[in-house]
């Protein structure tokens, strides 16, 4: 079996194995082992990719093609470039960390881990597919378990949140499907068969009229998942209700499908549409960046703060993608990765704090650093990384985006870039407000003195996420070059 298909097969096998487990202990062990294998494969893939790239110069490597449904020319086609490799690594790490964080999931553990891994399967499949239809199928596989995960294991108004989230994402999927079919039916503009294969379609000149029509559909379809203003409202409620590991996976990985899809499909296949619609969506994205940051200042629920922060940070991803140049795009991808790790860390920490103090209201928390030194220290580090401190991945990403944005000769892009840059100050405000409120200051009275310290599995989960954040932040060159190389063929369509 080829190296990529294994990425889908292993989680499926893990799910099958989970079906036969009896209790929490078995379920978590099986999930952990499965995710460990997955992480090993992802790391191996990075090395294999570099090795393969030396001899193989095509856009996608490790290609595999199987006919799935001949009549409509639907194939199961897989292949990766540097960007998908990075995304797969992100997914593998976040899933494993998520399993560790859910170590004490007492409630229906088997079903929980099964749903979690089904979700992961969808995400893995999405990142390796290069056939639009297969991609869409995996996309749906990833979105559906979310409903169960929030609806069953969530907290607060979980049914409502789960419903809202699923309906909005499904609505987006419907729009997206129309867009994808639109691309499909225009994929023979130069003669030849209709095809779903991205690489084939990219060679075809889709008529401008069609691009103009379908770009917004595809873009919005994906961007809803990437929390584009004003379609972001599923995210705060959804995150607030979701259990910890699900928030981690959702904000850390699932939301990245949005930016990735925009990059892979909307930008690559519909470049003229992107040029036509770019400015309009750019304004929306820029609004999202600033708006999310300002909205985060006023929230009092830890998860809401993080959700709005995600709106702001992922707004930056879409913003960078719409800047349509190499530096900004590379920034967008690194920002996706960086935000994936960081937000997963944040949600994990929030889960730990909530698990101990049973509140997420920042007005009821204070001085936790004193009693929870590990969690406190990591929280401060995460906060600092989140506000773009050099030495962490966020800085690398943001600088790529800002420099990229500023490379535009015209005033419009510049002004928007400056607007986006100003969000770093607002980010500092809400992060420091948060850290100052809950970690520092006097101990709030309703906190019990003897809260349990962080356990080994919590520490493992957190460190798994922290290591790549620092690795990217301290030595970004290997990642940045890998991504830049992979962007090259994609940017050409836009430049021409």
């Amino acid at each position: 079996m080829d190296i990529l298909t294994l990425f889908v097969v292993v989680p499926v096998l893990t799910v099958l194995a989970l079906v036969f487990t009896k209790d929490l202990k078995q379920a978590r062990t099986v999930s952990m082992l499965g995710s460990f294998v997955q992480l090993g494969m992802a790391i191996n893939l990075v090395f294999a990719y570099f090795k393969e790239k030396e001899v193989n110069d095509s856009i996608m490597v490790f290609m595999k093609d199987l006919v799935w449904f001949e009549h409509f020319n639907i194939h199961y086609t897989v292949g990766v470039d540097g960007i998908s490799v990075a995304m797969l690594l992100l997914t593998a790490i976040v899933v494993l960390a998520g399993v560790f964080i859910s170590w004490k999931m007492e409630d229906l553990p088997k079903e929980f881990f099964i749903s979690l891994l089904v979700l992961a399967t969808g995400v893995y499949g999405f990142f390796i597919s290069i056939d639009l239809f297969t991609m869409f199928v995996f996309f749906e596989i990833a979105v559906i378990p979310m409903y169960l995960l929030i609806g069953i294991w969530g907290s607060g108004p979980k049914e409502h949140s789960a419903m809202k989230l699923t309906l909005m994402l499904m609505g987006a999927s419907a729009v997206l499907l129309v867009g994808i079919l639109g691309i499909y039916f225009n994929s023979n503009a130069d003669g030849g068969d209709l095809t779903f294969n991205i690489l084939e379609i990219a060679k075809v000149n889709i008529p401008f009229e069609a691009q103009k029509l379908f770009f917004p559909l595809v873009f919005v379809g994906f961007a809803v998942l990437g929390a584009l203003f004003p379609f972001h409202t599923w995210s705060p409620d959804g995150h607030a209700s979701a259990p910890t590991a699900v928030s981690m996976l959702h904000a850390g990985v699932l939301m990245k499908l949005g930016g990735y899809g925009v990059f892979r499909i909307a930008m690559f296949l519909l470049p003229e549409g992107a040029l036509f619609w770019g400015d309009f969506f750019l304004v929306l994205a820029a609004i999202g960046v600033v708006y999310g940051a300002f909205a985060a200042i006023r929230q009092t629920d830890l998860k809401y703060i993080n959700a709005y922060a995600s709106v702001s940070h992922l707004g930056l991803v879409l913003f960078a993608l719409l800047m349509l140049n190499k530096t900004a795009w590379s920034g967008a991808i690194i920002q996706s990765l960086s935000h994936g790790f960081l937000t997963a860390m944040f949600f994990a920490l929030i889960g730990m704090i909530y698990g101990r103090t049973h509140t997420r209201d920042i007005n009821k928390l204070g001085g936790l650093m004193k009693i929870l030194p590990f969690i406190g220290a990591i929280y401060v580090i995460t906060g600092m990384a989140y506000l773009g401190l050099p030495g962490f991945s966020g800085f690398v990403a943001e600088m790529n985006i800002f420099v990229g944005g500023f490379q535009h000769p015209d005033m419009f892009h510049r002004v928007l870039t400056v607007l986006a840059v100003s969000s770093i100050v607002v980010t500092a405000v809400y992060i420091l407000r948060l850290v100052g409120k809950i970690m520092m200051g006097p101990l709030e009275t309703n906190n019990v003195e003897n809260l349990p310290k962080a356990t080994w599995y919590e520490k493992t989960g957190i460190l798994l996420l922290l290591i790549p954040v620092i690795a990217i932040g301290v030595a970004p060159l290997w990642l940045s070059d890998m991504i830049m190389d992979s962007i090259q063929p994609f940017i050409q369509g836009v430049i021409k």
């Binding site: 809202k164 600088m399 790529n400 800002f402 200051g441 030595a475």
Partner: protein
């Protein structure tokens, strides 16, 4: 020349930070203190060695101090733009290396005594090392982006150290304020960097600052694009200076500095007096050729005026404050204003560049005596457990070493010969006199004010009323006294270094002469200030209150720091929080989310309405069916006719 060993200077503190930071709970306090001091001592020795090598052995080639650069690519943006990491060795970076490692070493030694018994002893040393690492990285930066990176790291170490007593709400909010205010200023810095990067295609100081030896002008073509009548490069410089002003606590970004005194006193000495706050001055000096040549020094003029005004403003406030650390904080701001002003009035070639040299000289001497003042103040605070002047008095009997060293520092800052401050201040005034008379008069006036407020607190602490103390104050232990003595020694001799030989704008060096008339005026003004303080504060009396009353409103305004804090509070609380953030949060909840929820709710309502049609009665369905058939039949018949 092999300069790679210089990498060790910042890396050793980093290693110490990682060691202490990760194992903060496992390492015994006594051990961690030694680790910190030892690490810094190594860096200190290396810096001294580097300075010796550079200034006396290899630095000067053909009568000009050379730049040595070693760098590697850290991140690629475009084909031409990239961030490098490396070290740049020239006279000012070497000078800063010496300043930072010296002060940091002294502060490390001092902290062993001052922080004894504190919970976070190890944490303190870890943060100090982190700060030292970042500051050294900043000093050695080879390009704008590298300096920005370390700039931010310095900012965060400052945040951590101000918030060192993190259970104290005032410390937490001071830390937050410091970070956010400087972050806001850094926004300007970052945008300035972006502008530079785009219009010049490089971030390297080497390329940006390159001066054509034949024409004596900047190689860079700065006049190609203009925006609102000013070259974009000049705009970039102004924005970069905004970052510098934020970190150096210039108006109007100064509000964080007094609050930053919430940190432990050694930290204030290291960060908020001697090293970090001069980063802005260093930044301007680093880009000095650009500041000087672009638009004929338009941006440099702004630097001069901001420096001069901040200097005056801070000196006036300093007179009225009662917290000795705050007096010192405003004094720092005032002295940094001096340095900025000196840079601003400087020329480039030879003796014309006296302002540049004076600024660096003052930076050097100021670091010594201001650190000494802070450490002395720390020693006093350690003894009487209060920051306030009203709790002090007559301490000279109990603390002889502190008394003497504080006096030396006060004399140095007041500009009394032959102490260090006299020499550097004199050069600054010379530069101002030659280029900008108004700033010169401001400078002289500030010199008088400085002498006055400094002796006000000196007399207030060590003379004045004889207070009865609950616990008899005692002299500090040797670990604290040694740095005081060392720095006092430096404050005496540092002024005698022939600085202009080594540091000058065009790197060629020149011979500076004392300008006797100007020196006499400045010294006289300083002595008048001291004499006034003598009259007012030597003995306990009511003279000062009477005069304070006679100034009325001015006194009140100065006491309240000209209401800058209130202004900022108004802007952040009232405008950002309540006028921007709250409406956005409301808008999100009600309008954006409301629309989405509304669509959902309306769907439910509509489906509730039409639900009745699915009655489940076969006959209704049959009726609908038949009506449908009839209608369709009618339509078809009509159409086919």
């Amino acid at each position: 020349m092999d300069i790679t060993y210089i990498y060790l200077i910042p890396i050793i503190p980093l290693a110490v930070f990682l060691l202490l930071g990760i194992n903060s709970k496992k390492i015994k306090p006594a051990v961690s203190g030694y680790i910190g001091v030892l690490g810094l001592f190594t860096s200190f020795l290396l810096s001294i060695y580097t300075a010796y090598q550079y200034f006396f052995v290899i630095g000067k080639i053909d009568g000009e101090y050379q730049q040595f650069i070693d760098k590697t690519t850290w991140l690629n943006f475009t084909d031409t733009l990239h961030i490098d990491m490396g070290i740049l060795v020239d006279s000012i970076s070497i000078m800063m290396l010496v300043v930072v490692t010296t002060i940091s070493l002294m502060v490390h030694i001092y902290s062993r005594g001052y922080m004894k018994g504190d919970d976070g002893y190890t944490r303190c040393f870890a943060y100090l090392s982190l700060f030292t690492f970042s500051m050294l990285g900043l000093v050695l930066a080879t390009n704008l982006f590298q300096i920005y990176i370390f700039w931010e790291l310095v900012g965060v170490s400052s945040y951590l150290l101000i918030g060192y007593y993190y259970t104290k709400p005032s410390a937490v909010s001071a830390a937050k304020k410091a970070f956010i205010v400087t972050r806001f200023a850094d926004l300007g810095f970052l945008i300035g960097i972006l502008i530079m990067g785009y219009y010049t295609g490089t971030f390297d100081f080497e390329t940006l600052n390159a001066v054509n030896p034949e024409t004596g002008m900047l190689v860079l073509n700065w006049a190609s694009t203009s925006f609102m009548g000013l070259s974009v490069i000049a705009w970039g410089l102004i924005l970069i200076f905004m970052g510098g002003a934020g970190k150096s606590a210039m108006m109007p970004f100064h509000i964080w500095l007094p609050d930053a005194m919430e940190g432990p006193t050694p930290v204030s000495a290291l960060i908020h007096a001697a090293t970090m706050v001069v980063a802005g001055v260093y930044l301007v000096a680093r880009l000095f050729p650009m500041f000087y040549f672009v638009e004929d020094g338009f941006a440099l003029n702004i630097v001069a005026w901001v420096g001069g005004i901040s200097s005056l403003f801070a000196a006036i406030i300093a007179i009225t404050q009662t917290d000795i650390k705050r007096v010192l904080a405003f004094s720092t701001m005032s002295q940094i204003g001096y340095m900025m002003m000196a840079l601003g009035v400087s020329g480039y070639d030879g003796h014309e560049g006296v302002g540049y040299m004076a600024s660096m000289f003052h930076l050097f001497t100021h670091a010594m005596f201001k650190a000494l003042l802070f450490l002395g103040a720390g020693s006093v605070i350690h003894a009487v457990h209060s920051n306030y002047l009203k709790d002090m008095g007559g301490l000279r009997k109990y603390m002889p070493i502190t008394n003497i060293t504080f006096l030396i520092a006060a004399l140095a800052i007041a500009g009394v010969p032959p102490f260090a401050g006299f020499w550097s201040k004199d050069e600054i005034l010379v530069a101002a006199f030659e280029n900008n008379q108004i700033l010169y008069y401001i400078g002289v006036f500030v010199a008088g004010l400085t002498a006055f407020y400094m002796f006000r607190i000196y007399f207030g602490i060590f003379w004045g009323k004889d207070k009865k103390y609950e616990h008899t104050p005692h002299e500090s232990p040797m670990s604290m006294a040694f740095p005081l003595l060392f720095l006092a020694g430096m404050s005496i001799v540092a002024g005698l270094i022939p600085f202009s030989e080594y540091v000058s704008a065009d790197n060629k060096g020149f011979e500076a002469h004392l300008n006797y008339p100007l020196a006499a005026i400045a010294t006289t003004v300083g002595i008048i200030g001291i004499a006034l303080a003598w009259v007012f504060y030597k003995k306990e009396n009511s003279l000062s209150d009477k005069y304070a009353k006679s100034f009325g409103v001015l006194y009140k305004w100065a006491y309240h720091k000209f209401y800058f804090d209130e202004l900022y509070l108004f802007v952040t609380k009232k405008i950002i929080f309540n006028r921007i953030s709250a409406p956005i949060a409301w808008f999100d909840k009600k309008v954006v989310d409301g629309t989405m929820e509304g669509i959902g709710n309306k769907t439910v309502v509509v489906s509730d309405k039409i639900k009745g049609m699915q009655s489940g009665k076969l006959q209704d369905y049959a009726f609908a069916f038949i009506v449908g058939v009839v209608v369709l039949a009618g339509v078809f018949i009509y159409l086919w006719k």
